[in-house]
Symmetry: C2
Subunit: 333 residues, 2 copies
Amino acid sequence: MTVVELKEVGLDDPLPSWRPSGAKSAILDLVDAVTAAGSPDFVPPGSRIAVFDHDGTLWAERPLPFQAFFAQHRLAAVAGREVTLRDRQPYQAFVESDYEVIASFGKREVTEFILAIHAGMTTEEFNRAASAWLRNARHPELGRRFVDCVYQPQLELLEHLRANHFKTFIVSCGGLRFIRAFADVVYGIPPEQVIGSSERSRVELQEGRPVVRGLPEMGSFDDRDEKVVNIDLHIGLRPTLAFGNSDGDLRMLQYATDGDGCRLALLLHHDDAEREFAYDRDFRLSPLDQAMKLADARGWPVVSMMRDWTKIFRDENKGEPLGNPLFSSTRAG
Amino acid sequence: MTVVELKEVGLDDPLPSWRPSGAKSAILDLVDAVTAAGSPDFVPPGSRIAVFDHDGTLWAERPLPFQAFFAQHRLAAVAGREVTLRDRQPYQAFVESDYEVIASFGKREVTEFILAIHAGMTTEEFNRAASAWLRNARHPELGRRFVDCVYQPQLELLEHLRANHFKTFIVSCGGLRFIRAFADVVYGIPPEQVIGSSERSRVELQEGRPVVRGLPEMGSFDDRDEKVVNIDLHIGLRPTLAFGNSDGDLRMLQYATDGDGCRLALLLHHDDAEREFAYDRDFRLSPLDQAMKLADARGWPVVSMMRDWTKIFRDENKGEPLGNPLFSSTRAG
């Protein structure tokens, strides 16, 4: 039994929920190559950057990215401001919980509407509201809380990367404030390593103390090319590893692999209708089509949830504290 | 001799270039309070955020913030594009090296002009050009390289904070790409912990490979309120410690101190005409006036360079490699 086989099947397997596959080997090989002292592909620790899409890559995203359910929940709380939302699409579909109609709108339109629902809250208020909701909110079909729809194999991968001094980032089309409300506790990813779509915001004085309040206007729509622009703005380095699951991630995967040295892009394919969902180009809100063709042409590993993962979701974990601890110690707003 | 006295004057002093002072005690006390297990002011490591202004706080800024000298150097390289710059202010003053005239323009106007000079470069091209320039470029009056105009006491403070599991960030009105070209090597601050003013940018394909290219248009002018907006966007947490030297930092200092628990804002006062420069409200480009009044009202420590620092600049360090190592391993652009 060779060392590689031991790594993949033995007791020391850092990715126990990953079946032996080309994708798993590619991951383990990359980590070996960039960390081995004297390797021609050695990358200094500070430059070992791994970026992960969020919806559909680290947790599920059907029937809709989960922030849409939080936004729907918040509609009631913003009744006084609904008059400005009522004229916008897809307001009616949100009120009627018509997920299919919502998904038929473009990703930008839905993201914009969701951010508009959240407008008016300070960062601290948003974090409190999102944490409280996440604590109990359940997926409409999967029979578990949204925060338990996180993929166990990806938690192992994040951990393996960090154990090898990679810095792990989320680069999501979803709202960055929403993800920051649980990323530290659930993924071990601190707020400053979460990049996402964001509303414009401004500083206001609340009883003389500055708070940051969201405005009903998109600041950055973190999808496609904009993911690369934001990686450049927030991180400033070309990632060594990028993991996505849709055409929105295509440019980010390309950006990561088009540098020198050992680099890796991976695509997650949702092909497990029994344990999760099966879809790709037919999910109009966020299709996987062009990226699949490029993965094929470039030899990027495509991870089959059905074949490559022994386990889909993490164990249900009801006791963990959600929300970032620092927020609870700020009195202002 | 008490433990505190030992810390301040003994062999174990983590801030040897700081004379005993209210500022020094406040720093040491804050670090003790937030790190002591069981302390009512304990802050978990992930939430120990320290933010530092850059020009005038971590290195000198007279007669002009140093990026202005790099921009002036670049004017020659962008001769072909000068036709669009020539109509703008303060073009003529840059051509004539008239620092006083440049400093008489507003900070926003000067920052915008500097970013416009740099437009058209990819992130990697910019890093190469800035690193090459920084390697030898010298301050016109201080008789040392710009990168050696970094303050030794601040290097000790950054190190002391990190040794106590603070994450140290730069939040500068200067261009974030410029600071990222040396912050890792000089301050130990990685690119993703540098926040600053930025141009808009876009993704382009260069020989089929995505690169990020700067546009001649301001994306974010990271000053005053915008510093707080960007701390919220890039970090997502309210800092525990903030250090600045001008009215542009006022809101950031206020934001840091206006949370619960033990927090600290500090102001650096340039009052040492002999070893550096002496100025405050009279430096029109970036005055210190309102912030000084607020420091007085709130009891924020004001650090006197003349009285509180035994040493101003770090030792000259000609051998260190500038530029981020990852950039050198990217072939694209």
